[in-house]
């Protein structure tokens, strides 16, 4: 079986800075992967390459074996890649329900859309917020709204960029449960700093450092890895 | 010369269409003693305010003068002045307003040919008499409209041979790129060639052009004996400035069909920059006749000795023709003994003739233009020094294409082709 997502030798340069450096990455169908690494390690840039927001300088991206390198964002999204970006990326002027409606409506009948909107809100647990304008919600709630938006499109692969940021402890725990629940049907890649949170959800972890993959292993193994500790503590590493 | 017939048919079709709107016919306020209303549409603000303000003021002066002499038909006149803000859309709206709401007996106004062509068809439709008092390119043929300013056959015809005799036969024309400039420069070419000269080039400039650097170099490369300027408006004054700054004033002289007509040009630029520009108009403040001196004294007494600081001179071809247009209309009303539009038109067509500040002014019944004296002047230290005068010049250009006696229903602006 073909992997769900594969990158070969992916490179993204800005001027003289190399943000993503020759990354070979493989994700199987139904997998849940965590991506960790210090600030500036290239995780968000990697996501932007995957979703067509940046056109990679070199290398290839394959989704279910089909090359998607350099496609428009909306084409990639239509193939079944959804993303929750680092800064909540929602329609602030619309209500929660309308936000999710926009996502659910693509390619579906009005009746199906209505059902999916209800489901997505229930799944994330924000049904009580349905009529509120998103712009006036708290940061953590907006994160959940964005998650519901992504879910409503029913993508095969979901990318989550720091989903737990700005959440209370309870919200974080609920989020972990939601992610595990999502993973029953869909594959995920989650970027997160909070190692507690990573432990809650992940089996396999990929560590980014200076744009390249430093380590890729089981969560426990990664936590024990000396190089990873050095990176997080800011020590110099011989890469 | 050819005539654009198709356009004429269209225009009459359009005006015929509006006859359905007979409800729009103004009902004259005939109550005895009520004021007679006179409409004045001039640009008192915006880009053309320097020309429009004096016209409106002098129109007001003419109204006051008539009132001082007892008014018309035993009634007082009242001026409904509207500021068209140098905006064509407002011309259309305000023409409607004065004609249909205020129901004025006559409208004086319009400065550019563009504005005239907006309000002229409209006023004809509303059966409101119209006086256009600006020097222009000639060719308006409309029984509802009287044009009291000068046209090229009256002025350019005199100007061209004079300056060619003085300076030489090679002419370089620079003209404003619209109706007036296009047609007037064609007349310039015609008269230059008739006098055995040659127009080296005719360059057109939209009214907002201020950059004349390349043009000045092109003129130098062409080496003409004189430059004929048909430039219009404040932006185009940049030409005279840049010309003087390049030291060209002593090299190649300039004649103009427009410079100083609105009165402000010689003020806006310095005496050195304007020195020696020769022009030809129907009125100069320096005309040395008792009538003009008396007129100037009256205006001075009424509107002040000098224009308020920062405003141009009051008395120019444009404003004095406006005064004369008002007086001609008043004479027509007196003669007709009524305000009825057709009766007034017929009275005016009887060839009314008045002695005016600019000399004798006679309405030409065939074209609704005027036969008037024209003058040729040299600009010396901001004063127009009159070089020559030509008595009783007929509007020969319009006469060649327009005969309202034969075709009273004509409604056309002929583009006189040369």
């Amino acid at each position: 079986m073909k992997p769900l997502l594969e990158t070969r030798n992916l490179v993204m340069r800005f001027g003289g800075v190399t943000a993503v450096n020759e990354v070979d990455f493989l994700l199987e169908e139904g997998e849940l992967r965590c991506l960790i690494g210090p600030n500036g390690a290239g995780k968000s840039t990697f996501f932007k390459c995957l979703t067509g927001q940046y056109i990679p300088t070199a290398g290839e991206i394959l989704f279910r074996g089909k090359p998607i390198t350099g496609l428009n964002s909306h084409d990639i999204a239509r193939l079944g890649v959804g993303i929750k970006t680092q800064v909540p990326n929602v329609f602030n002027g619309l209500s929660v329900q309308e936000n999710i409606w926009v996502s659910a409506r693509r390619g579906r009948t009005p009746r199906m859309t209505a059902r999916i909107v209800e489901e997505a809100m229930a799944r994330v647990g924000i049904a009580d917020l349905a009529a509120r304008a998103v712009g006036e919600l708290a940061h953590g709630q907006r994160q959940l709204v964005e998650l519901a938006i992504v879910l409503a499109a029913e993508p095969a692969l979901i990318l989550l960029d720091e989903p737990a940021a700005g959440m209370t402890h309870e919200e974080t725990e609920r989020l972990a449960a939601i992610i595990r629940e999502i993973n029953r049907t869909q594959a995920l890649i989650v970027v997160e700093h909070d190692m507690q949170f990573v432990r809650m959800i992940a089996r396999k972890v990929t560590v980014f450092h200076q744009g390249a993959v430093l380590v890729e292993d089981d969560v426990e193994a990664v936590m024990r890895d000396a190089r990873v500790r050095d990176v997080y503590l800011g020590k110099r590493v011989a890469a | 010369m050819g005539i654009d017939r198709r356009g004429f048919l269209k225009a009459s079709a359009a005006s015929g269409a509006m006859l359905g709107a007979s409800a729009l016919m103004p009902k004259f306020a005939t109550a005895q003693g009520a004021d007679i209303l006179v409409g004045g549409l001039h640009d008192e603000t915006g880009g053309l305010d320097f020309a429009g303000k004096p016209m409106q003021q002098v129109l007001g002066f003419a109204v006051d003068e008539i009132n001082a002499q007892g008014g018309l038909l035993g009634r007082k006149l009242k001026l409904i002045g509207a500021d068209t803000q140098s905006n064509m859309q407002l011309y259309a709206s305000l023409a409607q307003q004065v004609a249909l709401k205020d129901k004025v007996s006559v409208v004086h106004g319009g400065i550019t040919s563009a504005s005239r062509e907006v309000i002229r068809p409209a006023l004809r439709r509303f059966n409101t008499l119209y006086f256009y008092n600006t020097l222009y390119e000639g060719g308006v043929c409309d029984r509802n409209c009287f044009c009291t300013g000068t046209t090229p056959a009256q002025t350019v015809q005199k100007l061209v041979p004079h300056v060619m005799k003085k300076w030489g036969k090679k002419v370089y024309t620079i003209a404003a790129d619209y109706n007036y400039g296009q047609i007037t420069s064609a007349w310039v070419k015609k008269y230059v060639e008739e006098n055995g000269g040659q127009v080296l080039s005719t360059d057109f400039f939209p009214l907002d052009v201020t950059n004349f650097g390349p043009t000045i170099q092109k003129i130098q490369a062409a080496k003409p004996d004189l430059v004929m300027s048909v430039l219009v408006g404040a932006a185009h004054l940049g030409f005279y400035r840049q010309w003087a700054a390049a030291g060209m004033k002593k090299q190649i002289p300039i004649a103009s069909t427009t410079f100083g007509a609105g009165g402000t040009e010689p003020i806006l630029i310095t005496p050195e920059e304007s020195e020696g520009i020769i022009s030809c108009y129907g009125y100069y403040p320096t005309i040395d006749t008792p009538a003009n001196k008396a007129f100037k004294a009256k205006v001075q007494a009424k509107l002040g000795a000098a224009p308020p600081a920062g405003n141009g001179p009051l008395l120019t071809e444009l404003s004095v023709c406006t005064y004369e247009g008002m007086m001609l209309w008043a004479a027509g009303v007196k003669k007709a003994g009524t305000l009825d539009r057709m009766k007034v038109i017929e009275a005016l067509e009887s060839g009314i003739s008045l002695d005016m500040p600019s000399g004798k002014v006679t309405i030409d019944p065939v074209t609704h233009h005027v036969t008037r004296d024209v003058y040729l002047a040299d600009l010396k230290n901001r004063e127009f020094v009159i070089l020559e005068s030509f008595a009783q010049q007929p509007p020969a250009d319009t006469q060649a294409v327009c005969d309202l006696k034969k075709n009273p229903n004509e409604n056309q602006h002929y583009q006189i082709k040369l």
């Binding site: 999204a77 239509r78 993303i83 996502s103 | 064509m88």
Partner: protein
């Protein structure tokens, strides 16, 4: 939400129809003609209120499509001696040009103020070019372009199929009012459709919309084209009503004026910009006949105050005011007035 939305639209439409019927009954013929101009400019206003308010496209050159509509109508009507086909052509040409320009911009990923400037430059190019067509050599069929002077003697609207029967001014008023109300209803309808709601989403957040699989460029292009078609409709009525069209339609002023109406009326609404358009237009006519006032001084002063006192625009501003007054009446305590911070950061 839906019933209220529908209620507002129906109420506005009813009011519009009532006013349309009422005006010729109470007003002079002259006033009817003046109101026709307001109505025509109202259609033009709606075109920008739509693409900006619902599509988030800031167009500094909406005059281009208005002018193209007017010129197309004028040239075609003079050539055909009939006005129905020219009327449709005007809408079509304006929409086509808007689509071409929109393709150029949206597929080139221009946005924001850069897009605004491109639209402005586009209309200025047409303005410059059309201004330099005064010479007799610039003819399209039997119509002379006329440069700065524009095209005079544009035929008035005739009954479709019968070129000899022309509408009288009151009928023209009805026609213009019909198109204004129809445009309003059309836009309200679009707003309620899936496409309309998506375009609002795109306005709110382009990146999010494209990450959900929507082709943002396509949606914006459609919105822009519809806006162009409506502006073209306004332009055609404008040329027919005034029986002339001149290059001023392409001028900076014409494009800026409509921006100001929309902004003063409130971006995101339709009725607000319409009221602002009518109000400011009436004001500018009224001020022209006041002998003691300098029109520019007064108009400028009023605009400045409007911005400072009603920062969100007329309609939303009045809504705020009424909420505030009601709250005041209820509570009888000084409410918290939210003023814009005296200093802020760059947008």
């Amino acid at each position: 939400m839906v019933p209220r939305f529908l209620l507002g639209t129906l109420a506005t439409t009813a009011a519009g129809i009532a006013i349309t019927i009422l005006i010729p009954m109470v007003a002079d013929a002259f006033e009817v003609m003046q109101y026709t101009l307001y109505v025509v400019l109202g259609i033009y206003t709606l075109s920008l209120a739509y693409i900006w308010g619902l599509g988030g496209i800031l167009c500094f050159g909406q005059g281009a499509f208005f002018g193209l509509g007017g010129y197309t109508f004028a040239i075609a009507a003079i050539n055909m001696n009939e006005t129905t086909v020219p009327f449709l052509m005007a809408i079509f040409i304006a929409a086509t040009v808007a689509a071409a320009l929109g393709y150029f911009m949206f597929y080139g990923r221009l946005s924001d103020v850069y897009l605004g400037v491109v639209t402005l430059v586009f209309t200025l190019i047409i303005w410059k070019l059309i201004n330099s067509t005064a010479g007799p050599e610039y003819m399209i069929g039997t119509a002379r372009l006329g440069g700065f002077n524009g095209i005079p003697s544009v035929p008035p609207l005739n009954v479709p199929g019968d070129p000899s029967r022309m509408f009288d001014p009151v009928e023209v008023f009805y026609i213009a009012a019909f198109f204004l109300i129809a445009t309003y209803l059309l836009l309200k309808f679009i707003q309620a459709t899936r496409f309309g709601r998506l375009s609002v989403a795109v306005k709110e957040n382009e990146v999010r919309a494209s990450l959900l699989g929507y082709d943002v460029r396509m949606i914006k292009l459609l919105v822009f084209t519809i806006g162009g078609a409506i502006a073209g409709l306004g332009g055609a009525l404008y040329a027919a009503y005034q029986s002339f069209i001149d290059p001023n339609a392409f001028s900076l002023e014409m494009s800026a004026k409509v921006l100001i109406w929309v902004m003063a009326g409130g971006v995101g609404t339709f009725v607000g910009p319409l009221l602002a358009c009518f109000g400011l237009q009436a004001l500018s006519i009224w001020i022209s006949t006041v002998p003691w006032a300098n029109s520019l001084l007064v108009l400028g002063g009023i605009l400045c105050f409007v911005v400072l006192l009603l920062p969100k625009g007329l309609l939303p501003g009045l809504a705020d005011l009424s909420t505030w007054l009601m709250a005041r009446a209820r509570r009888r305590t000084p409410p918290e007035v939210i003023l814009p911070a005296p200093e802020g950061k760059r947008a």
